[in-house]
């Protein structure tokens, strides 16, 4: 029997279900194999939002649900040597480590060995020349908010080999959260490309939580998924050759079959022969996905190519304000009244900014922001229509003006309008660049605030 290592997933995004991890940990314990659990809490936008939080509150800027995520599992993980790896450090990995230490103390647990990964944050003054060099004139210094590079698995593996029970990271590539503990366990060399690629794709399958166990998959009548209200989060059994079997928490809903695994395997992937992570370039062209048991699917045949010489960084700029408002019309001639509301808004506000209009229930998704699809639609006889207007502007005051105009449709718009909702948020615009790897050294240290 080939040596194997289990990696479970406890969260697939910031704000994921906080009752998902405990059944995963319980299953890891029952299977009795060496194991780790990962928490993936960062989307592209999330991290920038955390950077802004940290500026206002230097003790925050890490995953706000951290306590709810870890409290149900911390004791069991420490007791059973299940390593916890999470990018819940977000913009403030040291802050997260301090918080976890305090949580362990509150739960009357022995002080855990917490490793903190650094080297991803490019938001400080010193990093600006580097970003300028890469982005040239498109680096808008005045509106620069923050930047983070995607770091890899190597330092996660080193920290675990050094005795870490919990590894707190900021921005690392999502699959690296899984590859790190697997590298540490199997002692893979950094140029063992096929193994690194196989375990990275296992990580890719795990990183969105329920998306590989029947979540984001169900289509009643055609793709039915049992007990979705209790969907189990995934566990990958990773083998010494880099292949894996995807399963899920015991006694849970959801399903793992070749359809769920294929959908997630190709999720957010472009060229299947070159899925680039900081650690390796993965090639799934000849990969095989096969059902090997109930809720058990094997992924094998992933090939790895040498890692690239650069790391990707996301750079965020202040992008002004986004606003949207909605109002509903029902009954006879509802659609004509909804269209009249759009017309009024266009005539009053269209001179200040471009407005996108949607008639929810008729056309609200498949058209572009220019509204060409909706304008082609002849007015119908829909009896239940919701108007949506959306716009962006550098000035918050202008967006506020638009939102007041939507609210004014209560009294000054077509007959029978109801259910006005308005919302606004700060926009962040993004640019990506590639930076030479040797300019972005990553490192880890064990947290100690004594």
């Amino acid at each position: 029997m080939m040596k194997s290592f289990l990696v479970g997933c406890g969260a697939g995004f910031s704000g994921d279900r906080t009752d998902a991890a405990a059944p995963v940990v319980k299953t890891l314990i029952e299977r009795g194999l060496p194991s780790a659990i990962i928490f993936e809490n960062l989307a592209e936008r999330t991290l920038a939002a955390h950077q802004l939080t940290k500026r206002a509150r230097p003790d925050l800027g890490f995953e706000p649900l951290l306590e709810l995520e870890l409290e149900p599992i911390l004791s069991d993980c420490l007791k059973h040597n299940i390593v916890i790896v999470g990018n819940f450090g977000a913009a403030n990995p040291r802050g997260a480590a301090k918080f976890i230490k305090a949580l362990a103390s509150k739960l009357k647990l022995n002080e855990p060995r917490i490793a903190v990964l650094e080297g991803d944050n490019l938001s400080d003054q010193d990093s600006k020349p580097l970003l300028k060099e890469q982005l040239g004139d498109s680096f808008d210094e005045e509106n620069f908010v923050c930047a983070n590079a995607y770091q890899g698995a190597r330092e996660i593996a080193q920290a675990i080999k050094g005795g870490a029970q919990i590894v707190v990271t900021g921005r690392v590539a999502d699959p690296s959260l899984t590859l790190g503990p697997a590298m540490a366990f199997f002692n893979w060399r950094e140029d063992n490309w096929d193994c690194l690629a196989g375990a990275s794709m296992a990580g890719h399958l795990l990183e969105c939580g329920a998306q590989v166990t029947g979540g984001y998959f169900s289509d009643p009548g055609l793709k039915d998924v049992p007990n979705m209200e209790n969907i189990g989060f995934p566990i990958a059994q990773i083998f010494e050759d880099g292949s894996c079997i995807i399963t899920k928490a015991d006694n849970s809903g959801g399903l793992v079959d070749v359809r769920t695994v294929k959908e997630q395997l190709l999720y957010e992937l472009h060229d299947p022969s070159a899925y680039i992570t900081p650690d390796v370039v993965c090639d799934i062209t000849n990969a095989t996905v096969e059902q090997v048991g109930h809720d058990q699917v094997r992924l094998s045949g992933v090939i790895g190519h040498p890692r690239t010489a650069s790391l990707k960084a996301n750079v965020f700029f202040d992008g002004g304000w986004f606003g949207e408002g909605e109002i509903s019309y029902a009954g006879p001639n509802a659609e004509a009244r909804a269209r009249l509301a759009c017309d009024i808004l266009q005539k009053r506000m269209g001179k200040y900014m471009h407005l996108r209009f949607d008639l929810i229930g008729i056309s609200s998704i498949l058209g572009d922001d220019a509204g060409r699809m909706l304008s082609r639609h002849s007015a119908g006889q829909n009896l239940d229509v919701r108007v949506r207007v959306a716009a962006q502007h550098t000035s918050q005051q202008v967006i506020d003006l638009l939102l007041r105009e939507v609210t004014a449709l209560w009294c000054g718009g077509p007959a029978g309008g109801g259910g006005v909702r308005v919302a606004k948020r700060q926009r962040l615009s993004t640019q990506s660049c590639l930076i030479a790897r040797d300019k972005l050294p990553a490192s880890f240290h064990f947290y100690d605030d004594k």
Partner: protein, 107 residues
């Protein structure tokens, strides 16, 4: 003899996004239907099917082992998650728009 059906009846799909680029996987339920997808769901046809979202380029990658293909569609998201005014700023629902394409099935 052939019969026109919805792509939805023989394949499933999932959308992902990176910036202003969408990728949509298309996976045949049955291996024997993969060839139909290869012949009929071409880059050009997908470009036309998404015309209302103004894509500039479609690249199709084939994964015969998986009975699947991956469409990478450029500039289809009105700037992407941070820029678009669309309710579905990630373009997540585009997978089912792809599945609304028609295919001719041999009888």
């Amino acid at each position: 003899m052939t019969k026109e059906i919805l792509l939805y009846e023989i394949a499933h799909a999932r959308t992902g996004d990176k910036g202003n680029r969408s990728n949509i996987s298309l996976i045949a339920y049955k291996p024997e239907h993969f060839q139909i997808l290869v012949e009929q769901i071409t880059e050009q046809k997908v470009l036309e099917h998404f015309a209302d979202r103004k894509p500039t380029k479609v690249v199709r990658y084939l994964l015969p082992n998986l009975g699947a293909m991956n469409f990478v569609i450029d500039d289809v998201l009105d700037g992407g998650v941070n820029d678009t005014l669309n309710l579905d700023m990630h373009g997540k629902s585009l997978s089912f728009h792809l599945l609304s394409m028609k295919v001719m099935m041999p009888l």
